[in-house]
């Protein structure tokens, strides 16, 4: 095998690594083969297959912990699993089922939130109306006016609390749903990976 062919095959097998890593390896083996005693062919033969060199490089890259633990990279991992799921025929129905469940969960979350908002708005509105009414009644019956005002303030308070609860639920619900979907995707990705391995 010539040097060019060796480097070409090595490059193909390193596909997926960062460009800096690939270029450094190609530079190294380019120099290595040129430095070797004897002819180019013998040097390449002594070096072993490009696959072997690539395996050493990839194994080292994966175990050296240089893969960052950043969220962006993890997100990338999730995306590559999603793409892998879509890439195989078995994956499509699984992905569709996950998507349908996720959408259903989102719709029910929105429904609950919207009903809380509506309830809260109604309570606040009623509370304000009662408070205003108490002002009108004040001159005729002070005790009754105070009762109405109290009911009004209580209603408004409950309404505001419902708003706050709805907002808290919204944030937390979204988080729970997205976590659940992520977990299912990663799990099915692993399962499919295992099925592929045993097949």
């Amino acid at each position: 095998m010539t040097k060019e062919k060796y480097l070409d095959q090595l490059k193909q097998r390193l596909h997926g690594l960062p460009d800096t890593e690939i270029n450094d390896a190609l530079d190294y083996y380019d120099g290595y083969i040129s430095d070797a005693e004897g002819g180019e062919e013998e040097a390449v033969a002594a070096l072993g297959s490009p696959g072997e060199a690539a395996a050493h490089i990839l194994a080292n890259y994966v175990t050296s912990g240089r893969r960052s633990k950043s969220k962006a990279k993890n997100l990338k991992a999730v995306w590559s699993v999603i793409l892998a799921v879509f890439a195989i025929p078995v994956g499509l129905p699984v992905a569709a089922a996950v998507a349908v469940v996720a959408v259903a969960l989102l719709i029910s979350l929105f429904a609950v939130i919207i009903s809380f908002w509506a309830g809260g708005a109604a309570a606040v509105f009623a509370g304000v109306v009662y408070a205003l009414m108490s002002v009108v009644v004040m001159t005729k019956d002070a005790a009754y006016a105070l009762l109405i005002a109290g009911m009004g303030f209580a209603g408004a308070g409950i309404g505001i609390l419902m708003f706050l609860a709805a907002n808290a639920m919204f944030g937390r619900g979204l988080k729970v749903i997205s976590k659940f979907v992520g977990k299912v995707i990663l799990k099915s990705g692993k399962k499919i990976h295992n099925v592929k391995k045993t097949a």
């Binding site: 890593e21 450094d24 390896a25 530079d27 190294y28 083996y29 120099g31 290595y32 040129s34 430095d35 070797a36 002594a46 070096l47 072993g48 072997e52 060199a53 050493h56 490089i57 194994a59 080292n60 890259y61 050296s64 240089r66």
Partner: protein
Amino acid sequence: MGITATGTLLDGCVLSFLRTEDAYGYNLTQRAKETLEVSESTLYPVMRRLQTDGFLSVYDIPHNGRNRRYYRITESGMSRLDECRGMWVAFRRKIDGIFFDGGAQ
């Protein structure tokens, strides 16, 4: 086939080779092959990792119309070598204990 050197042992070997003089990849690999059972493609990832971790630095010297890349051990590479030696001594003591004293400490 004997015992294969991996991981920290290879780190220590490469750093030891470079302790007294700088060397280039082919030269280092041939020296390693004299005593260790390593294939010709074993050392590159080791040197690359040592380089990115700052234990080795590289520089180029023109040779036959191209650049030859030399590796040099850094200050932190020297302390990493000391670490490797310490780990090796501790490891050797443990294995000796198992092999020759049946696991007694």
